[in-house]
């Protein structure tokens, strides 16, 4: 059953990475404005 320990550690590490990335996106202000991002993609240079 030690496989469970490995799997749990891996899944928690992956989830933890997700949270850290989210917190980084939050800190860099990517959620401050939702409408602009949706529109900008249409006008960005090729």
């Amino acid at each position: 059953m030690t496989i469970i320990l490995y799997l749990l550690a891996i899944s928690l590490a992956m989830g933890g990475c997700g949270v850290l990335v989210f917190l980084w996106t939050l800190r860099s202000g990517q959620y401050d404005e939702m409408d602009g991002a949706a529109n900008r993609i249409r006008y960005d240079e090729d």
Partner: protein
């Protein structure tokens, strides 16, 4: 999906009949590509930078200020620039004239070509431009003038503090949501493993493994609860400190007890833990909080934007006679301020020099302009309809109207008392009931049935878990988020979190007249015929004077005439053709008023008439003597010997009888229908106005309002509303003037149009945009429906408790059952709230068909300010 233009009908659809400016899309003289040199220059800038695709990709929105560069003096930006610690500077400005996503692109592309600029980013939701640059602070004016040259209007922000505060709360909620989401996902994953192993059929999981998994769950869940639960714990503690209770009290208590009991079970090696329930509950509730915060933040930001864009820059006359444009806040007492014709006065003060009719309707409710001269006290917000004035600013003393109103507002708000929201009323009864229930369960099992203490505690806690008010706590916010979002899209900004519930309780509506039931600006009320109107409008289109703008608005599509000369305080001329005050058009001077019949043959005396008046081109400049100007101003407001005392414009063409355009206040286009509909819905309607009885009677008769009071002082309005409340009525006050603001604060709930005075708009719970009054009725209908949905939600979640609590008391609830029941009840409540998205049906007679246009953007509606092209229905 195609991103090419979605031109509004009329702007680009009929290029042959109406030539439009290649830059701003407004009507242009037939022979030209551009309406003005500013637009031509802007077009050149865009093409030179290689950004020409902007014109192909944009879609113009008629409701938004056109993209026409204006030769205005620059704002003094120094006060708004923030020096950042790393040596850079930052400036945030409100952008007026953002038409669509392409405008955002254009502004950012133009700024990207500016050296030294580190960040130049437009926030499309809040319509703000944030600039960060490395050079000296003075560089700001270079960036700003670059964008202003394109035709956007930029206004520096002063209220940045409030926004930052809100931003912090929003980010904190999002971080809590992230942590709760992470914990909920992982703990639930582990829990499902435990439940699967405990089904009994496949006995693959031993007690040691269960204990290990419980410990891992505990290690994830407990820090998550401690972190993500903070918004609820803080709110619960604040409520308890004030000896009140709110919904966060049972939530906090439930979550903490569940976590504590599960930890106890984990240590004791028990079979069941409820960590998954605790973190999932927090996750669901935080989703509701984040959405709620976002919806209200958007409404508040839009309201702030409205006020910022209307802020007036004041032309202060320095000691050496030069003019300096400054924000209102930076004008000191005793400063001398110049107010041009057609401008709003930016300060409270006393007129030193000049005579002019003033439109003080936003302040006093008086609809007709009053003549003012040296010595007259004026208030900020008053519109100057005549010539240039010099005003000496006074300190806001206790005697001013503003100070009086602020004092009345404070007093009225103190008397209003605290409104207890439905959720808190329910919580105040719910929390003691469930806690008592859990206690009785414990006593029953331990005392009466004699089970061990730990087991009795376990069962009692499972009662608390089952009753933990997840669905109950979502019942009200879910409805509020959806209703606030719907109202926002319809151009209504709900500023107070309790506004929706207070609105639903309303049974009496009190309207102000001027600017609320009527249009904010005086409108053209009589004119000779359409051809004359169109001809006059071609001249008027070249002026920003309020009366000229009303005339253009009445004419509809106008092609501005070429070569019009504006004579400040008097009128406009184009060769021999003149539009302006009575004396400017030489009425009763050189002109002989003819009978209307002679208009049929105007050509016969055309050449001679023109000469005899000495109206040769260029002569117009010579007539601006002081006497003439004063005369003109007098006449513009009070022509004395004519049939009316209303403001007027005269239109003189060589060889034709002069035409008179009369202006008056007119009801908002749908005022009659909306009042009729509100009356049909059973609301008592009253009219309280500060205006003269005759004006009030005219509008009240037209709108069929029987209960009316004229010449009401601000204190009188408050007294009238408090008398209504004494009778047990719940009053909605709709008003726009400074004189209405105390009454707005005194009423149960208040609404203001976006054109209202700053103070009124700040006091009002609800701000509606656009020309129409129907949003008020829509908001009332939606508020009632929201209240019904809230009640249904509460019934649903209490019904769920009635079914589940006996199971919990009996000790049959296992963790998986608790998790399933909790999630399903929350989803049910959310689904019920989503029904609010159905359109508001108007129960009205078929003759009132035009009411159906209420929620569509009319040519003058401002509703799209908070809206982008992409998020339409």
């Amino acid at each position: 999906m195609s991103v090419t233009t979605l031109p509004l009908a009329g702007i680009a659809a009929a290029p042959a009949a109406y030539p439009v400016c290649a830059h701003c899309g407004q009507p242009a003289p037939a022979s030209r590509r551009f309406c003005c040199p500013g637009c031509e220059a802007a077009f050149g800038i865009v093409q030179d930078l290689g950004l020409g695709r902007y014109y192909r990709q944009r879609s113009l929105d008629a409701a938004i200020r056109p993209l026409r560069p204006e030769a205005t003096d620059r704002w003094d930006l120094a006060q708004s620039i923030v020096a950042l610690p790393d040596g850079t500077h930052e400036l945030t400005v409100a952008v007026d004239g953002l038409q669509c996503g392409a405008c955002v692109w254009l502004i950012e592309q133009v700024l990207a070509r500016e050296p030294g600029l580190r960040i130049g980013r437009v926030n499309m939701t809040t319509r703000r431009l944030r600039l960060v640059w490395t050079g000296p602070a003075a560089d700001a004016s270079r960036f700003v003038s670059r964008i202003e040259a394109l035709g956007y209007r930029l206004v520096p922000f002063t209220a940045a503090l409030l926004g930052a505060e809100q931003d912090r709360t929003g980010r904190m909620l999002l971080r809590a949501l992230a942590v709760a989401g992470f914990a909920a996902g992982n703990v639930m994953m582990i829990s499902i493993g435990i439940w699967a192993g405990q089904t009994g059929r496949i006995d693959t999981i031993g007690p040691a493994t269960v204990a290990l998994l419980h410990w891992i769950s505990a290690l994830i869940a407990m820090p998550a609860v401690a972190y993500a639960g903070r918004p609820f714990f803080a709110s619960a503690l604040a409520a308890l400190a004030q000896r009140r209770t709110n919904m966060d009290v049972p939530i906090s208590l439930g979550v903490l007890l569940v976590t504590g009991m599960s930890l106890w079970e984990t240590i004791a090696g028990g079979a069941h833990t409820y960590f998954d329930s605790a973190v999932t509950l927090l996750f669901f509730l935080l989703i509701g909080r984040v959405l709620d915060h976002r919806a209200r933040g958007k409404a508040r930001a839009t309201a702030e934007q409205l006020l910022t864009l209307r802020s007036i820059d004041v032309a202060v006359i320095a000691a050496d006679g030069t003019l300096h444009r400054r924000p209102q806040a930076q004008v000191a007492a005793e400063d001398r301020v110049l107010v041009a014709a057609g401008e709003r006065i930016g300060v409270d003060g006393v007129i030193e020099q000049g005579n002019a009719p003033l439109d003080a309707s936003l302040m006093t409710g008086e609809s007709m302009p009053v003549n003012a001269g040296p010595g007259t006290a004026v208030y900020a917000g008053t519109l100057n309809l005549g010539g240039a004035l010099t005003v000496r600013a006074t300190a806001t003393g206790d005697s001013t109207l503003l100070a009086e109103c602020v004092r009345l507002i404070d007093a009225a708000e103190a008397r209003r008392g605290r409104f207890v929201v439905l959720a808190d009323r329910v919580a105040s009864r719910y929390a003691p009931a469930v806690h008592l229930c859990a206690l009785l369960t414990f006593l029953g099992w331990y005392g009466a049935l004699g089970v061990p203490v730990t087991q009795a505690l376990l069962i009692a806690t499972s009662v608390l878990i089952i009753t933990c008010p997840c669905a109950l706590a979502l019942a009200v916010p879910a409805v509020q988020v959806i209703a606030t979002g719907r109202l926002f899209r319809d151009g209504m900004l709900l500023k107070s979190p309790t506004a929706l519930e207070r609105l639903a309780a309303v049974d009496t509506i009190v309207f102000d007249k001027t600017g609320t039931l009527t249009e904010p600006l005086l409108a053209l009320s009589d004119y000779p015929d359409t051809d004359t109107l169109n001809a006059a409008a071609a001249l008027a289109a070249c002026s920003r004077h309020p009366l000229a703008r009303s005339l253009v608005a009445a004419a509809g599509r106008v092609t501005p005439a070429d070569g019009v000369v504006e004579h400040p305080g008097q009128g406009l001329s184009l060769g021999d053709v003149r539009l302006g005050s009575r004396s400017f058009c030489r009425i009763g001077n050189g002109w002989v008023l003819r009978a209307p019949g002679t208009i049929d043959s105007p050509m016969q005396n055309a050449p001679g008439a023109g000469d005899s008046l000495a109206n040769a081109p260029g002569a117009g400049d010579g007539i601006q003597t002081a006497d003439d100007a004063a005369d003109a101003m007098q006449n513009a407001a009070d022509p004395g010997d004519t049939q009316t005392t209303r403001p007027e414009l005269w239109f003189a063409r060589p060889g034709q009888a002069p035409a008179r355009f009369g202006f008056n206040e007119v009801p908002r286009p749908d005022a009659g229908e909306t009042i009729a509909r509100l009356q049909a819905m059973g609301y008592a309607i009253r009219l309280l106005s500060g205006d003269r009885p005759s004006s009030v009677a005219r509008i009240a008769d037209a709108l069929k309002i029987t209960e009316r009071t004229a010449a009401c002082s601000p204190a009188g309005k408050v007294a009238a509303i408090e008398a209504l409340r004494q009778q047990g009525r719940s009053v909605l006050m709709v008003g726009d003037g400074l004189n209405d603001s105390p009454a707005l604060a005194a009423a149960n709930i208040s609404a203001s149009p976006a054109s209202a005075a700053d103070v009124s708009q700040t006091v009002a719970d609800l701000v509606f945009q656009g020309r129409h009054l129907a949003p008020v009725a829509t908001a009332l209908v939606l508020a009632k429906r929201s209240r019904r949905a809230m009640q249904q939600n509460l019934a649903l979640s209490i019904g769920y408790n009635i079914v589940m609590v006996p199971l919990a008391v009996a000790g049959w609830v296992t963790p998986w059952l608790a998790a399933a029941a909790m999630s399903s009840s929350s989803l049910l409540v959310m689904a019920n709230s989503l029904r609010l998205h159905r359109p508001v049906k108007h129960n009205r007679p078929s003759s009132l068909r035009s009411l159906g246009t209420v929620n569509q953007p009319g040519p003058y509606t401002q509703r799209s300010l908070g809206k982008t092209k992409g998020d339409g229905p």
